[in-house]
Structures are given as structure tokens and as C-alpha cells.
């Protein structure tokens, strides 16, 4: 029998159980939980998982949902090949 897993973040393989564990260890800020578990740091950059993550954080910490902010979305918001950043910025203007 395969063990059932509830994935919150499919990109980085973070389960709801791992998130609960981190929150119960004392990490109550959305950025802290992101950094300790890696949720929202994969190819989708949190597009699919952020809402269930926020709901769980509200449930576990007892805070209202509107007090749970967002993780910081730094550029690039979509995956970009490393080589592109090495392109020269002299391609002319249009």
C-alpha cells in the first residue's frame, strides 16, 4: 500500500503535514514557513499553492485570513533559462 500524501505544493513536494509541523515548531509568519519548507519556490512560484497555504496558516495560528499576507514575489515570476540573463543589452531599440 502506498502512503497517502496531501501535497500543498506539488512543485517542491511540500505536504500539509510538513507545513503543520513547521507552524507548530513556532514559525508563524508566511515568509518564515516558506523558507523552512520551500513551499512556493518551485516552477509555479506559489500560483497553485499559496491559497491553501494561507488557509492552513490561518487555521493553525488562529489569525483571520486578511492578516495572513503574501510571500514576496521577486522577479522573475516565471522560470527563465539562465542563459537569457547573460544576453547583451545592446539589441537596439524599437
Amino acid at each position: 500500500m502506498v502512503v497517502d500524501k496531501k501535497f500543498a505544493c506539488l512543485c517542491e513536494d511540500v505536504t500539509l503535514e510538513e507545513l503543520r509541523h513547521a507552524i507548530r515548531e513556532g514559525f508563524h509568519d508566511i515568509e518564515e514557513v516558506k523558507r523552512i519548507t520551500g513551499i512556493g519556490t518551485g516552477p509555479c512560484q506559489g500560483k497553485q499553492c499559496l491559497q491553501s497555504f494561507r488557509l492552513l496558516l490561518a487555521e493553525e495560528t488562529g489569525k483571520p485570513l486578511d492578516e495572513i499576507g503574501l510571500t514576496t514575489p521577486r522577479p522573475p515570476v516565471r522560470p527563465v533559462a539562465f542563459g537569457l540573463w547573460l544576453s547583451n543589452n545592446d539589441g537596439g531599440s524599437e
Binding site: V3, C11, Q48, S52, S87
Partner: protein
């Protein structure tokens, strides 16, 4: 992409799609034994740091176990970054953005659309970051572009989210847009579907299921009623909780998850625009003239919390009028 369950490549007809291999192969994965030994997850962050002298060995072995697959190695050449100056940059796939694009184009402005959609004539273009001074980097088929617009319209729309149901990572579990893409390409992913939802966006899914002649076996309006998805290599059934604690099994080969609609506010956040919390999600805050809290940045459509398609289109035109007024057009 090894060690993650998602990839960025669009599946197209004729393409052979394979999952990553385990050890020694995906089919006979010896590492699956770890799931049985550590029933409550293998917490490798805490389990493998003691005794300290073993750390180099742990790092060498455990990190390798996390990604045993290989990536194809190929030479790719990238073009130079192109600089683009324009009056208005419209970002996003939301229908309101297209309405604004038509309006501003007809008004004679130089408008660039970075919408994330692929078209045969224009290729694809996607805004990937907002930088200081109002510059936006756009990823196109030809490489990166640095767009310097006089005004930006954010019509970035919403993102679909999944639901955390046990085994929702099995092949055969789809989000509504995946079903729509398959329907548009004539690919039938199965014959019997179960829908699990906590949002009211059922109409388009029902339409796509009818187009593909897929039978809707069961519709769960509350994800709490579903215990788990059953299947070994792909979806085979869904177990649902009944009133007296018993379980009913619904046989199916597709599960469609309709999670919350989440406005894509990433670029707005980067630009420093104020957000507002509505219906449980963060939306872009705009005034009656569709201005955000950042000068020269406007917003319209579902990213501002408008769910009705007609209201979205109207907001696109309204925002276009407001931009025209600001830039001094007629």
C-alpha cells in the same frame, strides 16, 4: 525537471511524456520503501544532521537521492535583449486586457501586449518582472525584451489553485484549464470524471466534459467530503465520506479539482501597488478611474476582484479611457 512533480513544457499531440525515473527505475523504485519505513514523512532536514562527523556523507547521499534523474543537455543560443519603448504596456491574459488593447490601438497609441498566450502570428510574450523606474522585462520566443512604457495596465487575471486531497499528485488529476487545453486540442483524457470543488466555477468544466463526451460521475461541492483519491499508477477512484462514517467509492479515471480563484498580483506587488483583501484573497486595489496606488500603473479585470466577465470587459475599456486621459490623448 528532476525531483519536482511539475514541468514547464506544453504537452503537444505526438509528444511522448515520461515521468522522472526513480532508483533504479521509475517502475521499480527501491526508494519507495522509505515511504513504508517513515510513515509520517521522512524529515531529512532534522534526521540527517547528527552525529556531526557524518554530515558530509549525508549531504553527499541524501541530496543525490532527492534528484536521481538526468536533464537533457543541449546547446541553446540566446539573442540579445531588445529595448522597446511604447505608450502603454498591457500585461495579462484577462479578457479585459484585450478590450483595452483594441480601444487604445484604435485611439492611435503605441501599445504592447504581453499576455502570456501563444499565438501563431505573434508567438508568445510574458512579463516576468517589474523593475525600478517602471521597466518591465518580457520573455518572448526571441529572448528577453526590456519594455519602457509611459503607462502600464495590469490585467494579469487569476491563477487556478488545486486542493490538498490525499494522492492529488496522481496522473489523471487535472485543473480546469488543463481540461480546456486538452478539449481545444481534441485530446480525450478519460471517460468518467469526478469533480471536487470549493468554488462555483463549474459551468466551463461541465461544458468541456460534454464536448469531450466524458461522463460526470460525481460532483463534490465540499472537498471535505472526499477522503482520498485511489490509484496506483493513475487515478482509479475517489473515496468519499458518508454521514455515518462509512466510505463510498466512485470509480473514475479523471479527477478535476476546482480550488480558489487567486488574483495574480505578483507584478502589482513588485511595482509596490496597494492590495485589498476581498472574498478571502488579495486583489489589486484600484480607484474609480482604475488607477493603482502607483502613478502610471493601472489595473482592470479579475485581478482587481471582478468575477463577472461583462464587468471585466467594461473595466478594460474604462481603464483604457483613463489611460488615454492621463497620457493626454483625445
Amino acid at each position: 525537471m528532476p525531483a519536482v512533480r511539475t514541468c514547464m513544457t506544453d504537452a503537444e499531440p505526438g509528444m511522448v511524456v515520461e515521468s522522472e525515473r526513480g532508483f533504479p527505475s521509475t517502475r521499480y523504485d527501491l526508494l519507495a520503501a522509505l515511504d513504508h519505513i517513515f510513515r509520517h514523512q521522512l524529515d531529512y532536514q532534522r534526521r540527517f544532521y547528527w552525529p556531526a562527523f557524518m554530515m558530509p556523507l549525508y549531504v553527499a547521499i541524501v541530496r543525490r537521492l532527492a534528484a536521481t534523474s538526468e536533464l537533457p543537455d543541449k546547446q541553446v543560443s540566446f539573442g540579445p535583449v531588445r529595448n522597446v519603448h511604447c505608450d502603454v504596456l498591457i500585461i495579462g491574459p484577462c479578457g479585459s486586457g484585450s478590450a483595452a488593447f483594441e480601444f487604445l490601438k484604435n485611439a492611435g497609441l503605441n501599445v504592447v501586449l504581453a499576455d502570456g498566450a501563444r499565438s501563431s502570428s505573434r508567438g508568445s510574450s510574458r512579463a516576468i518582472g517589474y523593475y525600478e523606474g517602471g521597466e518591465v522585462v518580457v520573455l518572448t520566443d526571441r529572448g528577453l525584451g526590456l519594455v519602457t512604457p509611459r503607462a502600464i495596465l495590469l490585467a494579469t487575471g487569476i491563477a487556478e489553485s488545486g486542493l490538498a486531497i490525499p494522492n492529488a499528485d496522481l496522473p489523471g488529476v487535472l485543473l480546469p484549464s488543463a481540461l480546456r487545453v486538452l478539449a481545444s486540442r481534441g485530446v480525450v483524457p478519460g471517460s468518467r470524471a469526478v469533480v471536487v470543488r470549493n468554488s462555483d466555477l463549474l459551468d466551463s468544466v461541465t461544458e468541456d466534459l460534454e464536448t469531450l463526451q466524458i461522463r460526470l460521475v460525481k460532483n463534490f461541492p465540499d472537498p471535505g467530503n472526499t477522503r482520498r483519491i485511489i490509484g496506483r499508477h493513475r487515478v482509479e477512484a475517489v473515496d468519499a465520506a458518508e454521514v455515518l462514517g462509512s466510505t463510498t467509492r466512485y470509480g473514475c479515471d479523471i479527477v478535476i479539482l476546482l480550488g480558489a480563484r487567486v488574483p495574480s498580483v505578483e507584478l502589482a506587488h513588485q511595482a509596490g501597488c496597494k492590495l485589498v483583501h476581498m472574498d478571502g484573497v488579495w486583489c489589486l486595489k484600484v480607484d474609480e478611474d482604475f488607477r493603482t496606488s502607483v502613478p502610471s500603473v493601472f489595473g482592470c479585470g479579475s485581478v482587481t476582484g471582478l468575477w463577472d466577465p461583462k464587468a471585466q470587459t467594461a473595466s478594460g475599456e474604462g481603464a483604457a479611457r483613463s489611460i488615454l486621459k492621463t497620457l493626454g490623448g483625445t
